[in-house]
């Protein structure tokens, strides 16, 4: 239900301000999209025996397989299972913001065409879903960490701002993915191909070591740093300043691009559904 008087003159594209207004309007309704995201997540697993713990199980088996195959090659050094579990969990969150978000508007077209809500509301609902999904994948890391006991300390707490930065970047980038995905239907397919490629070219289950090619692949890949700001503290190391600089720059850039494009095109999205 739209609250107050609304007057609509014929369409004028807005700028960053219009995008920010829509974003804030949606953000203020956080209890609503959090709750809806949770419902989406729990309803997806309804009528299954172990429910949302399928997420835990899937990641557990995936991490187990990676450790089994690649851990042997590394000769069991450096708390490898902890490294992989943390890497896979963060990566899954990042990749779902890049792939699932491309379909967010077509998936919600039934609501968009029937209720006058800020469009960002549906994006936040999707990101909330992704966060709940990550929360249910986290136990795999926790089990690995308790088992192999990497050197924890105060530095471990740095994982919290790292995680917040990763989630916020997800909030900023998902609307952009949704916008492009609504207009260009190839985009969704392209993004799932790209993220599959990135899974192997990002240091998720491998570390650069002394290999020059691997080092370059990690250094010139912004996703390495997004994983590092969460994973390094979880392994007991301080993430590099460079990692934080890259993450914050990417977050800010994606926020500005998203707000600008959203302000400009948000009123067109409904015509693209």
């Amino acid at each position: 239900m739209s609250d107050q008087t609304s007057t609509a003159a014929s369409f004028n594209p807005g700028g960053i301000g219009a995008g920010a207004a829509d974003f804030l309007k949606a953000w203020k309704r956080w209890p609503d999209w959090l709750m809806l995201g949770w419902y989406d997540f729990s309803i997806k697993h309804r009528r299954t025996l172990i429910g949302p713990f399928w997420e835990t199980l899937q990641v557990g088996i995936w991490v187990g397989a990676l450790v089994l195959i690649f851990g042997a090659m590394r000769g069991g050094q450096d708390y490898y299972p902890v490294y992989v579990a943390a890497g896979v969990t963060v990566w899954n969150f990042i990749s779902s913001n890049l792939t699932r978000a491309t379909a967010v508007f077509s998936k919600n077209s039934n609501f968009i065409l029937n209720v006058d809500n800020p469009l960002m509301f549906y994006v936040l609902r999707q990101v909330a879903y992704n966060v709940f999904r990550m929360a249910f994948q986290l136990p795999v890391y926790i089990v690995c960490a308790l088992w192999f006991q990497p050197p924890f300390g105060l530095v471990t707490l740095m994982a919290i701002p790292g995680l917040i930065a990763v989630i916020l970047t997800g909030v900023f980038i998902a609307p952009l993915m949704g916008l492009i995905g609504a207009r260009y239907r190839d985009f969704g397919q392209a993004m799932s191909t790209v993220t599959r490629f990135l899974f192997f070219t990002t240091p998720i289950f491998w570390s650069p070591g002394n290999n020059a090619i691997k080092t370059a692949a990690a250094a010139y890949n912004p996703f390495s740093y997004f994983i590092a700001v969460v994973r390094e503290p979880l392994m007991g190391n301080m993430p590099s300043l460079l990692a934080w600089v890259v993450v914050l720059t990417c977050a800010l850039a994606s926020l500005l691009v998203t707000l600008w494009l959203f302000g400009r095109y948000q009123r067109n999205i409904v015509f693209w559904l």
Binding site: M1, T5, A8, A9, S10, I43, D116, R183
Partner: protein
């Protein structure tokens, strides 16, 4: 009535929707002229466009109960969506005052796996109801919808009519100032329609405005006292329900009768006459000239 303030005002309202993934090239064989739908504009920047609304102007005062009629694709749903703030007009302007509630589909279920009761809460969340409001409406919805124990069953067990009951109960629970309803009443049974009418007249009693699109003159007569007739996105006639329906759908004639007494009906349709569906009264005597751009009669 005329002392009431104007709550909805449309001024030369136009809407043009792009259609992507469709070149808009004509097929070799020319299609028969469409009697349905808005105008189709072809080959503009590689994209076709439909024009569901073309220069529609009207004013609606508080408490009016307005029906929308017109053939399939005449612009009824598009007009409702513009009034509901979902589509921005591409030309002209529209003003709507007050809280607007929309009921455009009975597929309100966020999830077919969630129970009816959960869906009430989910839908309420979507509409931005507060927790306190939600508790309040949940009882009201249960009471009005009369779904009883079904509210604890998943929505997939619901019939279309049951979903209509639930959806209508939710969107009317908060007593909106302006209520926009697309053709969904058809799914509800007679008992529901009576109850809906009663509930609506309670709401109308509190100076609320209703706009209802329907193909059923029966439903229109039950709910509305004024009708806007749209055709190819243009407003053909706007006036008291009896006047508009009389022109839109002249008094019932015997279907089997074929004595040339209604030549206009023959010409009005390029398609062979199909057997009548008793639930969806067809307009059979539409003058051909109505298809052409007619000077907008302003009965308002």
């Amino acid at each position: 009535m005329s002392e009431e303030p104007i709550v909805i005002k449309a001024d030369k309202l136009g809407l043009k929707l792009p259609i992507f993934g469709f070149s808009g090239k004509r097929r070799k064989k020319k299609n028969a002229k469409a009697t349905v739908g808005g105008q189709i504009k072809r080959g503009n920047n590689h994209h076709a466009a439909v024009i569901p609304l073309d220069g529609v102007s009207f004013e609606i005062r508080r408490g009016e109960r307005v029906g929308l009629i017109g053939r399939n694709g005449a612009g009824k749903s598009s007009l409702l969506r513009v009034l509901g703030g979902i589509y921005r007009p591409t030309s002209g302007s529209v003003m709507v005052e007050g809280k607007v509630s929309t009921l455009f589909t009975n597929q309100i279920g966020l999830s077919h796996e969630a129970t009816g009761y959960e869906n009430v809460f989910l839908y309420g969340r979507l509409l931005g109801y507060s927790n306190a409001q939600m508790q309040e409406i949940a009882e009201d919805v249960a009471e009005f919808s009369q779904l009883g124990d079904y509210l604890d069953l998943p929505m997939r067990t619901y019939s279309a009519g049951m979903r209509t009951r639930l959806g209508f109960a939710v969107v009317t629970a908060m007593q909106p100032d302006v209520l926009l309803i697309d053709e969904i009443f058809g799914a509800g049974d007679r008992q529901f329609q009576d109850r809906a009418r009663e509930r609506m007249s309670n709401i109308i009693g509190q100076s609320n405005t209703l706009i209802l699109a329907s193909h059923s003159d029966d439903i229109l007569r039950r709910f509305c006292d004024r009708v806007l007739w749209l055709d190819h996105g243009r407003l053909v006639q706007d006036g008291p329900i009896d006047e508009v329906l009389a022109r839109y759908e002249p008094p019932e004639e015997d279907e089997d009768e074929d004595d040339g007494r209604k030549p206009r009906a023959r010409r009005a349709s390029n398609k062979p006459q199909k057997p009548r569906d008793p639930n969806k009264p067809q307009r059979k005597s539409r003058a051909r000239k109505d298809d052409k751009a007619q000077p907008e009669p302003d009965a308002g």
